[in-house]
Subunit: 289 residues, 2 copies
C-alpha cells in the first residue's frame, strides 16, 4: 500500500488564499502589511530565497521593502538600517537573510531587530516566550511569532487531520531552526517527543517507534524503510542538492510503501516556510488595528 | 543489588566549598557578590525558601539584601524596587520569590529584572539563549545563567561520572522550571532525549527505555519499579508533602533495588537548587572584574 502524499504545496496555497482575505480586510481598514528584507552580499542561494519572499509579498498584496547591501557593509551600517526599519510604521516585519558576511556579528544583528517585528521568530525574547508557553492554544492566543519552518510542518500535520495527542513523535536532528523548535511544537500538541541525533545509539530502532517521524538531519535519503513504522506520518524537511536534483532526508521511493502519510521533496515542507513567514507578517500588521 | 545513592547533599557541600574559594578570590579584588531577594506577602513556604537562600548567602560570604514587602504591594512599587536593584552596583543577582499576589503580573515582573542579574534564568532573553546554544560547553563558555534545579541535576549526573553521551534519557514532566530545561541540558550533553507527560500512552514502557530517568511530575511515588530499567540512573525531583513526610516522585524503597544509581528525597536534588543559585550569583559577580 502506498502512503497518502501530504502536499505542502496545496496546503500552502490554501493558507495563502486565507491570507488574501485577511489582507483585504486589513486594507479596508487602511493597513497594508509590510515586510522589509535585508540581503547583504551576493550569495546566489540567498538571492533566490529573498527573491521568492519578495514575489510572495507581491502575490499577496504585502508591501515589500527590499534592501540589498554590498558584501563589505559594516555592522554599524546594517544596525542603523535595522534601527530605521524598527521605527518605520509601514514595516510590520524585518527579515535579515542569513548567513551574513564575516565582519558582521549575526547574534548582534538578530538581537537588534525589534521583537515586535521579528517575523522569523529568531529574537531570543521570542525564542524564550516560545519555549515557555504552556500549549499550542497559548502560542496562538499570545500571538507569538512561531518559527516558520516548524510552524509550517505543524500546519501540514494539523490540516491533514493527523493526531498528535498522546502519539510518539521522533525528531531526527536538533538544530535551532528546525529540530528543537519542532520538538517543542509537537510537545505543545501533547505528543510524546524524542529528539535524536548523530550521537544516538541504534537510530533505526528509535526512529521506528515514531507515529510521527520528523527527518531534519540534512543527509540525502538518510531515513530508509527499515527506520519507519508501518503507517507512520513522515515529515521530510531535507533539501539536499544532489546530482539527482533536490532530494529529501527520506528515501521516499522505499518509505512511501511503509508510511501512512509522507511529505514529498519538493512540494512538501518547502512551500510552507515562506507562507508561514507571511502569516507572521499579517499577524504583526493586525497589531496596528 | 541496591543502587548507588547519589547524595545531592554531599555534592552541594563540595560545590559550596569551591564557591567559598572563588568568593575569597573575588573579595581580594574588592568584589563582594550580592544577591537581592524580594518576598511579597507572607506565604509560609515562600518565607522558608527565601530564608534558606539568605542563610546560604551568609554561610558563603555573599551579601544578602532581603526585601520583604506587604501582600498588598502594587505592581508599580515592586517594579520600581526592581529598577533600583537593577541599577545598584552592589547587587549581582535579583530574585523575586514566586508566586506573587494576584494584583501583580508575574510575567511583567520577571521581564523587568535585568537579564544581567537574572540569576534564576527566568528572563525570556536568557531562556531564549539557553534554548539556542549548541552544546553544554557553549553554555559554560557564554556564561549563561542556567536554571538552578535542572543545572543541579546535571551536576549530580556529571560529578557522579554517569555518562550521558548517546544514552537514552527520559524526562517525565514538561514544566518550564524543570522538565523542559532538563531535557535541553541532557540534549546539550548528547543524550537521546524523550519528554513524556500525562498524555503519554504506556508511560511505563517509555520510562523503561531510560538509561537516565528524570522524575519531575509532582506525584508522590509515581515511578514504580516496573517503570525502571535495570541499572538506570534515576533522578527524583519530586518534593511532595504527604502524611508520611517529604516524599519524592519515585517509589524509592522498591526502585532502589532495580536502579543502578538514584537520588534520595530529601538529600538529593533539593540541596542543589540553592547551591546552583549561588553559582549564578558568583558567575554574575565575576563580570564586575
Amino acid at each position: 500500500m502506498s502512503a497518502r502524499i501530504l502536499s505542502g504545496k496545496e496546503i500552502a496555497k490554501k493558507i495563502r488564499e486565507e491570507l488574501k482575505d485577511e489582507i483585504a480586510d486589513l486594507k479596508s481598514q487602511g493597513i497594508t502589511p509590510g515586510l522589509a528584507t535585508i540581503l547583504v552580499g551576493e550569495d546566489p542561494a540567498s538571492q533566490v530565497y529573498v527573491g521568492a519572499k519578495t514575489k510572495t509579498c507581491h502575490d499577496l498584496g504585502i508591501f515589500s521593502d527590499q534592501h540589498t547591501l554590498p558584501a563589505d557593509t559594516s555592522e554599524g551600517k546594517l544596525l542603523s538600517l535595522i534601527d530605521e526599519l524598527n521605527n518605520n510604521p509601514k514595516i510590520d516585519g524585518i527579515l535579515t537573510q542569513l548567513p551574513l558576511p564575516k565582519q558582521i556579528n549575526e547574534t548582534k544583528v538578530l538581537d537588534a531587530i525589534s521583537p515586535e517585528k521579528d517575523v522569523d521568530g529568531f529574537h531570543p525574547i521570542n525564542v524564550g516566550r516560545f519555549f515557555t508557553v504552556k500549549d499550542f492554544e497559548e502560542m496562538v492566543e499570545k500571538k507569538l511569532f512561531l518559527p516558520c519552518t516548524p510552524h509550517g510542518m505543524i500546519e501540514i500535520i494539523k490540516r491533514s487531520d493527523i493526531q498528535m495527542n498522546g502519539k510518539e513523535a521522533v525528531v531526527l536532528g536538533r538544530s535551532n531552526i528546525v529540530g528543537k523548535p519542532i520538538a517543542m511544537l509537537l510537545l505543545a500538541n501533547n505528543a510524546t517527543v524524542t529528539i535524536c541525533h548523530s550521537r544516538t545509539k541504534d537510530l533505526a530502532s528509535v526512529c521506528k517507534r515514531a507515529d510521527i517521524l520528523i527527518a531534519a538531519i540534512g543527509k540525502p535519503k538518510f531515513v530508509t524503510a527499515d527506520m519507519v513504522k508501518e503507517g507512520a506520518c513522515v515529515i521530510d524537511v531535507g533539501v539536499n542538492r544532489t546530482e539527482q536534483g533536490l532530494v529529501g532526508d527520506v528515501d521516499f521511493e522505499k518509505v512511501v510503501d511503509i508510511a501512512g502519510s509522507i511529505t514529498p521533496v519538493p512540494g512538501g515542507v518547502g512551500p510552507m516556510t515562506i507562507t508561514m513567514l507571511m502569516v507572521n507578517v499579517v499577524k504583526s500588521a493586525k497589531k496596528r488595528i
